[in-house]
Amino acid sequence: MSSRLDFLSPFTLETQVVKPGRKVYVVKPEDLRNVFLKMIEVLGDSSFYVSTIIGTDLKDEGRIRLDYYVVVLPEEETVVFRTFIPRDNPTVDSLIDLIPGVLPGECETHDLLGVVFKGNPFLKRGFFVPSDVVEQGKYPLRKDSGV
């Protein structure tokens, strides 16, 4: 299975493993959109779906880690694309015109962590969190938010 994704090796910085045995490809944030364009070109757009987008606030290292969990059909194996973006300017390109299924993940990560996805017209602050927390300008999932 992993041999099918060998065309991604020019973008990969390193590989890790998330238990129980899921391969992680660490890429640069600028390359993320190209990785997905290449996947659609080589595999076709109905042979994989984006399952989850997870953002984690690594306050001690000063960066936010973004994981894209992708399930490749038909073997249904899960692979992970991991990038790190700086905490004080968290922006990354949006994938919404390629894959409409990332909409809930991107909207949620924006509202709860403050990551800005450039090119996504549906990002909005007001509704994820209750309005009294929004008025204070806080992002609830950050470690120093005090919520």
């Binding site: 238990k19 399930v71 059909l73 249904e76 549906f122 909005k124 994820f128 209750p130």
Partner: protein, 397 residues
């Protein structure tokens, strides 16, 4: 002065469905814009049930989180607890006994049975067929009794613990559960026949809310919604967690992709669940005590991360647990429920159908709004060309 431009603004009726509405069981706001009888655009507004569970999980210890996470959703509480506990067991590197694995499978299949019966009964109620609704609920009570015999409570069964399950089962209980399952199997076959042949149900459900295979994959739909459009995905068959590697079962798919196919997939899955549960009861291994001693479980979890998937009643449910090894609380817990993907991306399904089809399509997606526990505002685009001018004007909402 001559007129240089004429702008035609077609009139469209805005129809808010929800948050309090007799056709919905949980609060969600669907703002439907309709031109005459036909729907042109739907906006989905959620967030009436947001409870901040991910942040709450970071403030409690790993063991307290098992009970908190089980209360994300009432109907899917066993699968949430099972997924979370398996993630902790992966981080710890712990293996559990075969008997515990089989018992977990039995409990999860009982839950899948009663959830599928519930959503089919709700669908019958929404189209007005109250007699069928009452009869399905009557038979569902027997499954709740079986769950009470096995786990100790009808709905919120706190049954799963790190290292196994919390209660064992003896022969008298096995006989009672087997009795209930055999009687229910007859009733489910009868209800499946009603859904397949009754003319009222066929008139209202066939060809409503059709979803093609490509649409189902690029919008990340999961569960019976995707399986009814021909996408063969099932976490039980691919991840083979707990005892599913030893139990034979079929993954049910259909090709029509409309609401009728979605409900029939659920009845077929209910029959498969009965078969799996009977198989488990016949072959329960007795290698070790499935109940761990809760006083001797490790207090500190080492650093690591794990990502587990489970096939909940509504689709693929995933958990990501990360621990930093220094505190008794987890560093990050992320829950992605199947209703999150299904409902929020579903705005494209309503366009072109009438207003009376709206509750039918929404119920066929099996919405579990408490499971969603996230909040989103979504505008959905659909390129119906002669209605485009109004959509651009309305987009700023």
């Amino acid at each position: 002065m001559s007129v240089s431009k004429i702008i035609e603004v077609p009139l469209a009726l805005e129809l808010p469905v929800g948050p309090q509405h007799p056709a919905l069981h949980e609060p969600v706001l669907l703002k439907a814009y309709a031109d005459g009888e036909e729907i042109v655009k739907v906006e989905i507004n959620t967030g009436y049930n947001h409870r901040g569970i991910e942040k709450l999980c970071e403030k409690n210890s790993f063991y307290r989180d098992i009970f908190i996470v089980a209360r994300v959703c009432g109907i899917c509480n066993l699968v949430h607890a099972d997924c979370y506990v398996r993630a902790i067991e992966q981080i710890l590197g712990m293996e559990i006994s075969n008997r515990a694995k089989y018992l977990r499978v039995l409990a999860m299949e009982l839950e899948r049975l009663h959830s599928h019966m519930l959503i089919n009964a709700v669908m019958a109620e929404n189209i007005g067929f109250e007699n069928l609704f009452m009869n399905i609920m009557l038979d569902r009570e027997k499954i709740m009794k079986a769950k009470e015999i096995l786990t100790g409570n009808r709905v919120l069964s706190d049954y799963v613990m790190v290292g196994g399950v919390r209660r064992d089962i003896d022969d008298a209980k096995k006989e009672k559960i087997r009795d209930i399952l055999l009687k229910t199997e007859e009733r489910i076959k009868y209800y499946k026949k009603v859904f397949a042949e009754d003319s009222t149900i066929l008139k209202r459900l066939v060809d409503v809310g059709k979803v093609s295979t490509r649409d189902a994959v690029i919008h990340s739909l999961v569960g019976p919604v995707a399986r009814a459009s021909g996408v063969k995905i099932d976490s039980r068959a691919s991840d083979k967690y707990d005892a599913y590697s030893e139990i034979p079962f079929n993954v049910i798919t259909r090709t029509e992709g409309d609401s009728w196919a979605r409900m029939m997939v659920r009845w077929d899955e209910a029959l498969e669940s009965v078969k799996i549960a009977l198989h488990v009861l016949d072959r329960l291994p007795s290698d070790a005590n499935p109940v761990p001693d809760e006083k001797k479980l490790p207090r500190k979890i080492p650093a690591g991360e794990a990502y587990t998937r489970v096939e909940a009643q509504r689709g693929e449910l995933t958990y990501y647990v990360m621990s930093d090894g220094k505190s008794p609380n987890p560093y990050r817990v992320k829950i992605r429920t199947p209703s999150f993907n299904n409902i929020i991306s579903s705005g494209f399904m309503y366009v072109g159908y009438t207003i009376a089809d709206l509750p039918v399509i929404l119920t066929s997606l099996d919405p579990c709004i408490s499971c969603m526990e996230r909040v989103t505002v979504v505008d959905v685009k659909k390129n119906v060309s002669y209605k485009l001018p109004f959509k651009e004007l309305a987009k700023g909402v």
